[in-house]
């Protein structure tokens, strides 16, 4: 068993990065995730593992530092919160276009604009549908506990390198700020320069030896036919992710007549709502997407056969609900898919969720 600690979600992100052999972190302070860089600076991993930590002049610079370092084959990350992620979107698009692996963490706060510093899930669409310009996808992981803040760092890097694609951990201010018991991962060695060349030498800017052609990291291709070919390659990769990487947790879904679909903090609320509903005699289950892209549509399609309806519960105006509807539709089944959410930094209460279930699904049926 690994080392047990009581830690904040944001602190755990930093600790997990050091332990999984991350080579570099570039960031810019923004509430509610500033503890990530603060923890790294406090820990001084450059003395321990050689990991580089740098406070950039902006989120724009931070993501481009990630682009540069990732282009040289290194395992690098950044973290920010919603307004900062908007600034990074240009860079993320370039990273996806150049097919570079990296990790971007978004500890979401309420928007739009400067919004609030309270937790939100209103960046769902930005995260899973692209966010920046062009047709691209990120692998998006949604932790709902401090433990998953630890576990998903390594997983995100693993998937990023598997697909040569940016990964995102889409958390929210509540997960970032809350303290929970966490079992920390064991230390992994950082890759040596030789290992980097072995893994990524075919594309990374490791310096051109006479034994190979030069490597060029770019997203530019002016020949439209070639650019379409590139896009086809990206799309094929995204379809492969959809086939192989759908992750979820199903809680009390076996006998359920209704399903809450919720991720992150909302899923924690819904877990309690399942209990309350069952006490009231309504058989409800919770389907918690862990990967938001690829969205776990297969399991939703399967559940649709046996249940009477879905309630998508989100801390937004209703973004994931569109994907739930699409998954049910794609399964060729007609089932009501309703939505309940709070916005602006408000976390719904379990009571509100059950009430919404009664109003939006049970009432219509009876």
């Amino acid at each position: 068993m690994g080392e047990l600690r009581l830690m904040k979600g944001n602190e755990v992100l930093a600790e997990a990065a050091i332990r999984c052999g991350c080579d570099g972190y570039f960031g810019y302070p923004i509430t509610p995730q500033s503890e990530v860089m603060e923890t790294l600076m406090e820990r001084q991993p450059w003395n321990e593992t050689g990991m580089v930590v740098l406070q950039a002049e902006s989120e724009v610079a931070a993501i481009n530092m990630v682009y540069g370092a990732a282009g040289s084959g290194k395992k690098v990350m950044t973290s920010s919160s919603s307004p900062g992620i908007s600034l990074m979107s240009e860079g993320i698009s370039y990273i996806a276009g150049a097919e570079l692996p990296c990790l971007v963490v978004n500890v979401q706060r309420g928007g739009p604009g400067l919004g609030t510093i309270q937790p939100s899930q209103a960046d769902y669409s930005q995260a899973v549908k692209g966010g920046g310009h062009g047709d691209y996808k990120m692998i998006v992981l949604a932790p709902s506990s401090v433990q998953e803040m630890n576990d998903f760092v390594d997983l995100a890097f693993e998937l990023a390198f598997k697909y040569r694609n940016p990964s995102m951990i889409l958390a929210d201010g509540a997960i970032g700020q809350m303290m929970e018991k966490v079992e920390l991962s064991d230390y992994k060695e950082r890759w040596s320069d030789e290992e980097v060349i072995e893994k990524s030498g075919s594309w990374a800017t490791t310096g051109k030896p006479s034994s190979r052609e030069r490597n060029v990291v770019t997203s530019l291709e002016l020949d439209s036919l070639k650019m379409e070919e590139n896009n086809n390659r990206f799309q094929e990769k995204y379809r492969r992710m959809e086939a192989e990487e759908q992750r979820y947790e199903a809680i009390q879904c076996d006998d359920a007549e209704y399903i809450f679909v919720a991720f992150g903090t909302s899923a924690r609320v819904c877990q309690k709502a399942v209990e309350i509903a069952r006490e009231k005699g309504v058989k409800v289950g919770l389907l918690r997407p862990i990967t938001l892209f690829p969205f776990p549509k297969t399991i939703i399609g399967e559940l649709a056969k046996d249940v009477k309806g879905f309630l998508s519960v989100e801390m937004s105006a209703g973004q994931m609900v569109e994907d739930v509807k699409q998954a049910v539709f794609d399964a060729g089944i007609i089932r009501p898919v309703a939505f309940f959410g709070r916005m602006g930094g408000i976390i719904p209460t379990p009571g509100e969720v059950v009430e919404a279930l009664e109003q939006k699904l049970l009432k219509e049926k009876r």
Binding site: G24, G68, A69, K208, V217
Partner: protein
């Protein structure tokens, strides 16, 4: 002695650098980019550092710099080359990393990135091509466009009351403690080209010696954008740009070493 008797391998005194890729550059006839690309290739080749060099290309006419010099390259978003270079060099401190940027890229959209990279003293060489105009997009005003100069967005000439003043980025970065060597060069005559090459080699050597940021501005022509012949453009540059952007070293942290005179 006949010409054919002179043209023999043993008599070769100037040939194309092996690091210059055998292709025709997309630049307009007479473009300074071609000259500076050649100098970079020659310098890297002569210093034997191809294997440790990573170039960062900008957005602008020189976006395709990576098609011409046989080293590993990363293509940065517009203005972000110094941040990209920072990421590369921080994680690969023994590599030679340089950015190649035009005036729109470095002095306008990327002003924050260049100032902060230089202020941190990132161990890299910045090559700044200043031709006072946006070449690729069709000759619009750049932050470095000199006063009264006609561009497609200043058809009556740059008016400082409307457009502000031409930005002397090189003077600004020379003020920053992170820079060790800051110089302004040109490449319109054989002597200027040779001098510019020495400046580039010195910048590279400074990076190899881990002296922080070296910054070489090259006052350049964009004869297409300026709507002149290459020869007229060189003359116009000497008469109009040099007074505002005087050539020479602005900073050389190696005190006591005489500044090259030719």
């Amino acid at each position: 002695m006949e010409t054919k008797d002179i043209i023999k391998p043993e008599n070769l005194v100037y040939g194309k650098s092996e690091l210059l890729i055998d292709t025709i550059m997309h630049y307009c006839p007479g473009c300074t980019h071609g000259v500076v690309h050649k100098l970079i290739a020659e310098a890297i080749g002569e210093m034997g550092i191809q294997e440790k060099t990573i170039g960062i290309a900008p957005v602008g006419c020189s976006v395709f710099a990576y098609n011409y010099i046989d080293i590993d390259w990363q293509e940065a978003a517009h203005g972000r080359a110094p941040a990209v270079a920072t990421g590369v060099v921080r994680l690969n401190p023994d590599k030679f990393v340089f950015t190649y940027q035009g005036d729109g890229d470095l002095a306008s959209i990327g002003a924050a990135e260049i100032i902060h990279a230089c202020n941190r003293g990132e161990n890299m060489l910045v090559i700044f091509i200043n031709n006072g105009i946006y070449g690729m997009t069709g000759g619009q005003m750049a932050p470095t466009t000199i006063e009264n100069m006609v561009t497609s967005t200043t058809p009556c000439g740059r008016d400082s009351e409307l457009n502000g003043y031409p930005l002397k980025m090189t003077d600004l970065v020379a003020q920053l403690p992170g820079t060790s060597y800051v110089t302004r060069q040109s490449a319109q005559t054989a002597a200027a080209v040779r001098k510019c090459k020495r400046a580039l080699k010195k910048g590279i050597q400074n990076v190899l010696d881990k002296k922080g940021t070296s910054f070489v501005e090259v006052i350049s022509t964009c004869n297409s954008g300026w709507k002149m012949t290459p020869v007229q453009a060189n003359k116009w540059m000497e008469e109009n740009m040099f007074p505002y952007y005087p050539l020479g070293d602005l900073k050389d942290s190696e005190k006591g070493e005489p500044v090259s005179k030719n």
